[in-house]
Symmetry: C2
Amino acid sequence: MGTTQLESVPEPKYWHLRTVLSEALDSEFAVGEILPNERDLAARFGVARATLRQALEQLELEGRLQRRRGVGTTVAPPRVGVDVGMEGETWPGTSEDAWQPVDCTVGAPPSAVADALGTGRDEAVHIVRRSRVSHGRPVAAELLYVPRASVPDLTAIDTPSGAARARAVLRELRRPALEGQDRAVELGSARADDAKELDRLPGAPVLVVTTRFFAGGRTAALSVATYRADTCRLTFGASGTVEIHHGPERQAS
Amino acid sequence: MGTTQLESVPEPKYWHLRTVLSEALDSEFAVGEILPNERDLAARFGVARATLRQALEQLELEGRLQRRRGVGTTVAPPRVGVDVGMEGETWPGTSEDAWQPVDCTVGAPPSAVADALGTGRDEAVHIVRRSRVSHGRPVAAELLYVPRASVPDLTAIDTPSGAARARAVLRELRRPALEGQDRAVELGSARADDAKELDRLPGAPVLVVTTRFFAGGRTAALSVATYRADTCRLTFGASGTVEIHHGPERQAS
DNA sequence: GAGTGGTCTAGACCACCGC
DNA sequence: CGGTGGTCTAGACCACTCT
């Protein structure tokens, strides 16, 4: 068994606080319940508000709490499993892929995107914006970069504009066969515009899913989707019903 | 009077600072270079150290900076692409899957894990610890929960102990055919033990990859792998060479 | 207007690292 | 030892939401 070392080094207060609060959430609070305000909680635990807030930030990062300015802090529901499946590799915009086209502009992408697409750094591409909702809440915002070369027949059309234009680009993009795709997930922080769409503050933690679509021997399109990290669990594969992490969701002491 | 809302929405200082620093990193610093210390930076920008730190935290979250107590703040190298492929679904521990067995204990798993495994909440399971290194640095720590029923022939052996025991469990686990697997990714914060292994402080942001392995019509094992979110980009699919996000990596002033 | 979380300050001390 | 980042405090004010 274990050689448990006694704590020669004191645990930081905010970390201990996080643990205490976490256990309290398990045993004494129901989902949706509102916690006492930060000033009261800080006083109750005998710490400064900044310290209390550090603990709350941790718990929010872990998806246990939800804080809204002007409202209060509530116990968050378990994270939503959002399918990001890899099974059938498909073009974006097919039948129902859970994304809703928002609009479409033309402009130069960030240089890192241009490099991945193999376009020139100042070459304009179609930029399709889409959003994804789950259980009535926005969970992700996507920017889909489509080089002009990937939708050659689109040049004639000039301006259904808005969502209609986005759909037109997606429709044209799907014409050739998809040869493969390639995906990466990393942590990021929400830019101002994403934050607004996701109903969060700028800088909020997000999971950035980058997908490259291959066709005609080139990268035909590149999608950068940002998911709310606090409320989402990205699922891959068939059954999206993994239910892991932090224990009991209810049960009195 | 003017009421005036000049900037109707003033940007928070720390957010503006983040942007300024981010641009400075792109244009004036090389990877590995050390920044001035926090007190100097704060003075230089005319803000309190706490505010400066808020900006640095953002940048660290985004993988742009690396801070080490007693040493300083350095410009981080681009994130490492870590393959978490789904292609060939395989048991853990095959040939070279990049993981190194560390040790193996027997004990009751967290209740959420027990539920996913379908074992009783107090039923002991094998817990295999493995670690993963990339480019000489630890990037992930894994706990693999294996119900006794999944490795029935192991009961006879009593304790090669340590890594040898871990390998024995993995070997026995691989006997039946793998019928499928199922994966999820979410944001978490490092527990004290994971933090130590990953060379980070407790609470550091991590990407938690949960994988269920199915065999014999049951969940034969469950893996919970925590990756350093600051240094890792999880890649799925063939070419692990997506290189996205934030621009130029070099160039002197 | 009252009450909430979000930002910011100016200080202090601590834990760690390298010399 | 001196210098670094990490923790913590006790205040202040702002932005927001609800009633």
